[in-house]
């Protein structure tokens, strides 16, 4: 075939507008209309916030207003740590701004090796593989571990990256009711005994901030001969004696086969990883497409991650402050009469449950106008069709900031009619 078919003169000079049925974009009309309806109600677009300045892990300037950040995943407040920033500067100076390649080819620099060593030290494991994002770590690990004729068994409330990891692979996919040990047991029991199985769990589920009964679930998985992957994205740094996550807190270091995590939350930069003690773990690098066919992280990013992870190993003070902040916010909002995602404070996420999109948007806007940023979350991201205002705490929030946050919630709750 020659290139002549691609010459512009073969196209009509003035193409007619596409008929709706041929316009691939017309399928988004309902989405566009729904967003327009929300904007027409007068609220700021909750999914288009711009931080014009970021002053600290807990403060930013949004549209000229000083705003307390209570909707980032900066749990350990590492983003402005002087040692972390210095490590990034040094790597930029020594290695340049990017790697221009895949880990497999020219994209592995000194600090990619160093951050993997920092992970092995932090988790006390023999193997660590770094991916370009947490999303890609799940995508890569799940699609590579479970092959054709094998099974992935996942919680119904799993993060999108876990569902997408299933779609990317060729395994059969079975889901069980959220955090329901008996349902997991029943479903595993109906699968062919001889087939390979991967049970995918999360330590903390990010929408409601609830913790999984991992001990019971892992026991059930092992009973049926399944391997276990736990996503500890929302627990790194502040669960268990070494801050490894919920699986460490529940004493499961020997039983969980693979732990997936991210640099974009407690570590305070971007990237994803999987750690494991499996003797053949390194083979993942040879088979995993989301590891092989994408560019590696820039040197400054892996250098900041390595410095941050090493500091998290001994961040006892930050850990204690984070839990204190989470308990203070959870207790204060409960006392005011807000409905929360969990009865007790289980994690650094405190989710306020609202009745509908209108109420959630009004409340979110009132908080933003008062100088507080929280996450608004809505179906399909949320479980059971709920509308949430999700607060996530940072170790760097001060008690005075939490008091101001509680004051703003009370005022907004009354103004919008959520509180009597």
């Amino acid at each position: 075939m020659t290139e002549t078919g691609l010459q512009p003169e073969t196209l009509p000079a003035d193409p007619a507008p596409l008929a709706p049925e041929r316009d691939l974009m017309s399928k988004f009309d309902p989405l566009i209309a729904e967003r327009q309806a929300l904007l027409d109600s007068g609220v700021t677009d909750p999914f288009a916030i711009v931080m014009d300045e970021v002053r600290s892990p807990t403060e930013a300037v949004i549209k000229g207003r000083e705003t307390i950040l209570l909707g980032t995943y900066n749990y350990m407040g590492m983003t402005f740590d002087p040692d972390v920033i210095a490590a990034g500067h040094a790597a930029l100076d020594q290695f340049g701004s990017g790697t221009n390649g895949s880990r497999m080819l020219n994209g592995t620099f000194r600090d990619h090796m160093e951050v993997e060593q920092a992970l092995r030290d932090f988790y006390g494991v023999s193997g660590a593989i770094v991916f370009s994002t947490g999303y890609m770590a799940n995508l890569g690990m799940i699609s590579t571990l479970a092959g054709k004729g094998e099974y992935v068994i996942l919680d119904a409330d799993s993060h999108a990256s876990i569902y997408d990891g299933c779609k990317q692979g060729y395994a059969e996919v079975v889901r069980f009711r959220h955090n329901d040990v008996n349902d997991l047991d029943k479903r595993l029991g109906r699968l062919p005994k001889e087939a390979g199985k991967l049970v995918v769990l999360e330590g903390v589920y990010s929408m409601l901030g609830d913790v999984a009964p991992l001990r019971e679930m892992v026991a059930v998985a092992k009973k049926h001969g399944a391997m276990v992957l736990s996503d500890e994205a929302h627990s790194m740094g502040f669960y268990g004696p070494n801050g490894r996550g919920v699986y460490e807190d529940q004493g499961l270091e020997r039983d969980v086969d693979f732990v997936v995590g991210t640099f974009s939350k407690s570590v305070g930069t971007v990237g994803g990883f999987c750690v494991s003690n499996h003797p053949k773990f390194e083979a993942i690098r040879l088979a995993c497409r989301p590891y092989i066919f994408t560019a590696s992280l820039p040197p400054s990013v892996v250098a900041t991650a390595a410095a941050s992870i090493r500091k998290l190993m001994t961040a006892e003070k930050k850990r204690a402050q984070l839990w204190e902040n989470a308990r203070k916010l959870h207790g204060g909002l409960t006392a005011m009469g807000f409905r929360l995602g969990t009865a007790q404070c289980e994690s650094a996420i405190v989710a306020v449950i609202l009745e509908d999109q209108e109420q959630a948007a009004a409340m979110w806007q009132a908080l933003l106008d008062g100088g507080l940023y929280v996450n608004m979350a809505r179906p399909p991201a949320t479980p059971a069709g709920t509308f949430l205002l999700r607060c996530s705490l940072c170790a760097e929030h001060t008690p005075a900031q939490i008091d101001r946050v509680l004051g703003m919630f009370e005022a907004a709750g009354r103004a919008v009619g959520v509180l009597a």
Binding site: A156, E172, V174, R175, R177, R190, L191
Partner: protein, 80 residues
């Protein structure tokens, strides 16, 4: 009564508690279009079917099933 008829009757009985629209149920009734089920309803209903027949309908198979008739065929095959 054939096996298939029996399965069809059981399936339609299990649909009823979720049939908020009181749609007429036949072989060609679709779950998304006619019953207007969202993903949560689908999950609860699939669990009910799985428990009743002691089978697993994987998400891969669910993606291929659009009508009541197709579900009855799938159950018949899985039970065999």
């Amino acid at each position: 009564m054939s096996d298939r008829t029996e399965i069809f009757d059981t399936v339609t009985r299990l649909i009823e508690p979720f049939n908020k629209k009181q749609a007429e149920l036949g072989e060609s009734t679709t779950f998304q279009g006619d019953l207007e089920w969202d993903s949560l309803t689908v999950m609860d209903f699939v669990a009910a079917i799985e428990d009743e027949f002691d089978i697993i309908i994987t998400m891969n198979m669910q993606a291929e099933i659009e009508t009541v008739g197709q579900l009855v065929d799938a159950v018949e095959k899985l039970k065999a």
